[in-house]
């Protein structure tokens, strides 16, 4: 089986198991929704400066959702030693990693489909800028969170304080990507400023960390 087929099989497996159990989607979506609602109690954007802040709220909600999704990603494989079984197959570890990343991005995009319209409603916002470019930002930003997050989640699955450790590792690493997505989202909402440069930052970030993670994944999971 080719590398890509293997990775896609992993994606299909994760989606199927999630579709059957729905152990994650409901809780994660509800959690992210709560974050949005609570933030909209604390402030309502009236001026452009406050609209700029709102873009941060959306990404904080995604971040929380992302950490919960990523945390479950390898936890699911711990039951019945599924991870060991997966690793016994001739599939390469990096294909497994890639599959996991794609599945996690899909889960987060599903969250986005529900959260973004609600976000626009709650905060009384609309996209004055380029929506198409923003969708690209959304995808690249999700990938930035997921590629490092999946890597660290695989590492921390067996650690006792896993839920705490994962954000501790993921958040500082993601600082550049977070700056880029929040700024690009503000540009898309306000319709002024340049989004291009932030897309470039995200592409660079994604390219660098995808390469690093694919190179090091095999090494990192060998002993777990």
């Amino acid at each position: 089986m080719s590398y890509w087929t293997t990775a896609m099989r992993i994606v299909a497996k994760d989606l199927l198991s999630e579709a059957r159990t729905r152990e994650m989607t409901n809780a994660v979506l509800f959690f992210a929704l709560l974050v949005l609602v609570l933030f909209s109690f604390s402030f309502q954007p009236a001026s452009d400066e406050e609209r700029r802040l709102a873009s941060g709220v959306l990404w904080i909600a995604f971040l929380f959702a992302g950490v919960s999704v990523l945390d479950r990603s390898f936890l699911r494989e711990r039951v019945n030693d599924c991870l060991d079984a997966l690793r016994l197959t001739p599939a390469s570890a990096s294909a497994l990693f890639l599959g996991k990343c794609v599945a996690n991005v899909l889960f987060l995009l599903l969250a986005a489909v529900i959260l973004v319209p609600l976000f626009l409603v709650f905060f009384d916002l609309s996209f004055r800028g380029d929506v198409g470019a923003w969708l690209l930002v959304l995808g690249l930003g999700m990938w930035a969170l997921v590629v490092n997050g999946t890597f660290f989640a695989a590492m921390t699955t067996n650690v006792r304080s896993r839920e705490l450790l994962l954000p501790l590792l993921l958040l500082p690493i993601s600082v550049p990507a977070l700056i880029a997505v929040v700024e690009a989202t503000a540009v898309a909402l306000l319709g002024e400023g340049a989004m291009r440069v932030w897309i470039q930052v995200l592409i660079a970030f994604d390219a660098i960390y995808t390469t690093l993670a694919l190179l090091l994944f095999e090494t990192v999971v060998e002993g777990t």
Binding site: F152, T219, G223, T224
Partner: protein
């Protein structure tokens, strides 16, 4: 395999030289260097502030090299180098982050600004605290050294990206006016004071680093002795 854990003679020599260098650093920073015209006496903290930043950079770079070396060779020695460098580096980074606001408040009128250099130094410090937390949390895991080495590489690669993205970010916003940078050329006596302080801090880094590195070796040996003792107990009881 019993080894004597006394410090080598050169280390004590180095401690002596470091003490002298630190005293010279104080003299240079507080006496020999002239008082800066606009900022006044408070500018003298600059010698410690900049020296600690440079030393922290050296430490984190050493951590990065040791992480790569560990993943290549899997020798525990490199892991010990990595953790020692990160730990001492975080100490120097903390000195840098504390002295910065003390200087900034009277000079800029604010404690903190999200400018590229400040923010990236802070994020770098956060990354290495994360690195140390990972080691602490995963201490009982068999592959914790590999994980730490991977995270060390991830963290170091992040620093230039953080710097770049924050520079882009700051140019998008009006920032507070940053007055009197040191780039505008400095008095040779100030230059000398800065380099004496940097040298003193580097020596202090080597002293502390080696101390910490030996501690790591001692811990490994202790763990191994305990395991042996445990095995002996088991054999006896059979």
């Amino acid at each position: 395999m019993r080894s004597e854990w006394t410090f080598p003679r050169w280390w004590f020599g180095l401690v002596g030289i470091t003490a002298v260098a630190l005293v010279l650093g104080v003299l240079h920073a507080l006496w020999f260097a002239p008082t800066e015209r606009t900022m006044g006496t408070v500018q003298r903290i600059f010698y410690y502030h900049v020296s600690s930043a440079w030393t922290a950079f050296v430490a984190f770079f050493l951590n990065f090299l040791a992480c790569i070396a560990y993943l290549k060779t899997r020798r525990p020695k490199w892991d010990a180098v990595a953790v020692s460098a990160a730990e001492v580096g975080v100490v120097f980074g903390t000195v840098n982050l504390i002295t910065g606001p003390i200087w900034a408040k009277p000079v800029w009128g604010i404690w903190w600004t999200w400018d590229a250099r400040l923010t990236s130094t802070l994020v770098m410090w956060l990354l290495y605290v994360s690195y140390l937390l990972l080691r602490q949390f995963a201490a009982e895991q068999p592959s914790q050294r590999v994980w730490a080495a991977a995270f060390g590489i991830f963290a170091f690669v992040d620093v230039p990206i953080v710097y770049l993205s924050i520079r882009l970010w700051r140019t998008q916003h009006p920032g507070p006016v940053i007055a009197g940078g040191e780039q505008s050329g400095i008095d040779p006596r100030m230059f000398l004071a800065l380099h004496v302080c940097f040298l003193a801090f580097l020596l202090l880094f080597v002293v502390l680093f080696y101390w910490r590195y030996r501690l790591e070796g001692q811990r490994a040996e202790l763990a191994e002795l305990r395991a042996r003792l445990h095995r002996l107990h088991l054999e006896r009881s059979v």
